[in-house]
């Protein structure tokens, strides 16, 4: 089947119900997207599909044929994604970094839908788990982005 990932077209051979995450990481070698829980709970595997955040570990690959997939590898090619990454650097958000590609995806999707989210909307959208507990830094970065700060 044919997949559009980061503006490129890939031919992949996979069973229709293979999770998108396996295809991205194992077949195509883009390992920036992480495997966490495998149950759509932690968010480490988040990618964008047509600008919406989805959890690649529970996305059957056949369901995203013909749609535009964006992974962390190309997030800075997106204007909002670029601002998010800059804010992450500014706030030195990452500790171990394992969850951060997913966190960046969640923040990018939020700001795409809601350019100036309220605190409640940020709380509701930023639900990815972080074992290091970088939540304060994440929220600081997203708040600044929400206020249209320099980042």
């Amino acid at each position: 089947m044919e997949l559009r990932i980061n503006q490129k077209t890939y031919q992949v051979e996979a069973e229709a119900d293979t999770p998108l995450l396996w295809v991205i990481r194992d077949d195509l070698g883009m390992t920036g997207t992480k495997y966490g829980c495998g149950l759509a709970q932690c968010g480490a595997c988040s990618v964008l599909v047509d600008g919406n955040v989805v959890r690649a570990c529970v996305t059957p690959v056949a369901g995203v044929v013909g749609r535009e997939i964006t992974t962390i590898e190309a997030i800075e090619e997106d204007a909002i994604g670029k601002r998010v990454v800059a804010a992450w650097v500014e706030h030195q958000v990452a500790q171990c970094g394992y969850c951060q590609s997913g966190q960046v995806m969640a923040a990018t999707a939020l700001l795409k839908h809601t350019p100036k989210p309220s605190d409640a909307q940020i709380e509701a959208a930023m639900v990815n788990l972080c074992r290091c507990g970088t939540y304060n830094a994440i929220h600081a970065a997203v708040h600044e982005l929400a206020e249209g700060g320099k980042a």
Binding site: D17, P19, L39, A40, Q41, N52, V53, V54, R55, V58, T59, P60, G63, A106, H113, T114, A120, Q121, A124, A125, V127
Partner: protein, 446 residues
């Protein structure tokens, strides 16, 4: 009235009273008749035929526990009066049914009467199994006697206290509610329809969950002659939907091949099995022959719906959840649910079920919607392979209020028009239910 006149009247009354008491005593302790007078010769083909009847009847679902000897019993069933446990039905002579003759076995399965005229509780679905053909009972007996390993697992007594634990009144219940005859083919219908009717009403005992029950906990109808038959029912914290032609809460929008696909693979474009149906799928329906599944589908499609009960037929309305973020519950939907069920509510058929037009999102009863959100789904094991995509449990992550809001949102989006969910209903189910196991549960029959 003088004393003498009173004594005379009492004497006259005593006769019919004694007669009635005697008749009652005979009725509730009698051993009903069985057509089987001698045991028949058993060969491997009969045992294997019996194994298939056991699959159709899903005996294993109640009479086996995961990791234990098949059919050694033990499943606890809560009743308002106390707990009862499914019994050991292996051919062990002491603890199981090894000493049963074919006639004993027949009386237990089709009439709910164990040897010694002891009445079984109708938790054993003998009001459905009453429809089993003589041939299928004979085959089932052959399987249990020769295809199942004996186990000396002792039965667990029920915790129902005296005097409620007396079993004889069940005989009266049986007289009122349990059919006395095996399935009789309807000449006006073809063979496929009749085979479907036989499986649905008899071994499949679909009505045990899908038919509403009356005050005496009796199924309100046992075949298509009654409109409550398979009209949907609330049981054990799940709403078993209508299996009639109701477009919203039933199978009105499903084609016959889609019904077959659902029962064979656990999923189709409308729905994925969950709740108690996971057990019925894992242990029973997926093992049914294609012809039998086609027969079931043909029969179910012949049961008319009821617009008065079902309401206005659902029509999809294209709305993105992301465009309604001001609505309560919408943010939770977008972050927690949309990955799988889609911003458009359409899911990812046939792996993730749609919520747009889903029974749980249209039915008045909201138990299934709440229960699956709190507790997630069990693993579907189709053809020996556990499902990769499972509904996770959200009970630790979402409050009662958040679950109420997100379900109210989904039940009012994409053309869904069901009543809002109250946080109190979520709290109540939270208290009475447990999260679904994440381990695949496979019950073996041999």
């Amino acid at each position: 009235m003088s004393n003498r006149r009173f004594a005379t009247t009492a004497r006259w009354l005593a006769v019919p009273c004694l007669l009635a008491a005697g008749l009652l005593a005979w009725y509730v302790t009698r051993e009903p008749a069985s057509p089987f007078t001698t045991d028949t010769a058993v060969d491997a083909a009969l045992v294997s035929r019996g194994e298939y009847v056991a699959r159709l009847s899903d005996c294993v679902a109640c009479h086996s526990l995961p990791g234990k000897t098949p059919f050694a019993g033990g499943l606890e069933m809560a009743t308002p009066l106390g707990a009862i446990h499914a019994t050991n039905i292996t051919p062990d002579r002491e603890h199981g049914i090894g000493a049963y003759s074919l006639a004993d076995f027949d009386r237990a399965v089709r009439q709910g009467v164990a040897p010694g005229a002891r009445r079984l509780y109708p938790a054993m679905p003998y009001p459905s199994y009453a429809k089993l053909s003589d041939d299928d009972v004979r085959a089932l007996y052959a399987f249990f006697m020769q295809g199942v390993q004996p186990s000396a697992e002792a039965n667990i007594p029920s915790s129902i206290p005296w005097p409620l634990n007396m079993r004889w009144p069940i005989a009266l219940w049986n007289g009122l509610f349990a059919p006395a005859h095996t399935y009789a083919a309807k000449p006006s219908q073809d063979a496929l329809w009749n085979r479907g009717a036989y499986i649905v009403q008899g071994p499949g005992h679909c009505g045990s969950c899908h038919t509403p029950r009356g005050l005496a906990f009796n199924e309100k109808a046992l075949d298509e002659s009654g409109t409550p038959f398979l009209a949907g029912a609330l049981l054990d914290g799940w709403y078993a939907p209508s299996l009639r032609q109701d477009p919203n809460t039933g199978l009105g929008r499903w084609s016959e091949p889609e019904i077959v696909q659902f029962l064979k693979t656990g999923r189709n474009k409308h729905a994925v099995v969950y709740g108690s149906m996971t057990e019925a799928f894992n242990n029973s329906t997926q093992f049914m022959a294609d012809d039998d599944l086609a027969a079931i589908a043909r029969y179910l499609k012949s049961l008319p719906g009821d617009p008065a009960r079902d309401g206005k037929p659902w029509q999809y309305q294209a709305v993105s959840a992301a465009g309604r973020l001001d609505a309560p519950g919408a943010h939770t939907y977008v972050t927690r649910c949309a990955s799988c069920h889609g911003l458009d509510g359409k899911g990812q058929p046939e792996w993730m079920p749609p919520l747009a037009g889903a029974t749980s999102m249209l039915a008045k009863e909201n138990a299934s919607a709440i229960n699956i959100t709190l507790n997630g789904s069990q693993r579907i094991v189709a053809a020996g392979v556990p499902d990769a995509y499972r509904m996770p449990a959200f009970r630790e992550q979402l409050s009662d209020q958040q679950i109420a809001e997100v379900l109210s949102f989904a039940r009012s989006a994409w053309g869904n028009e069901a009543a809002a969910v109250d946080a109190k209903a979520v709290a109540k189910l939270r208290e009475h239910t447990d999260p679904a196991s994440s381990s695949p549960i496979i019950l073996h029959m041999r």
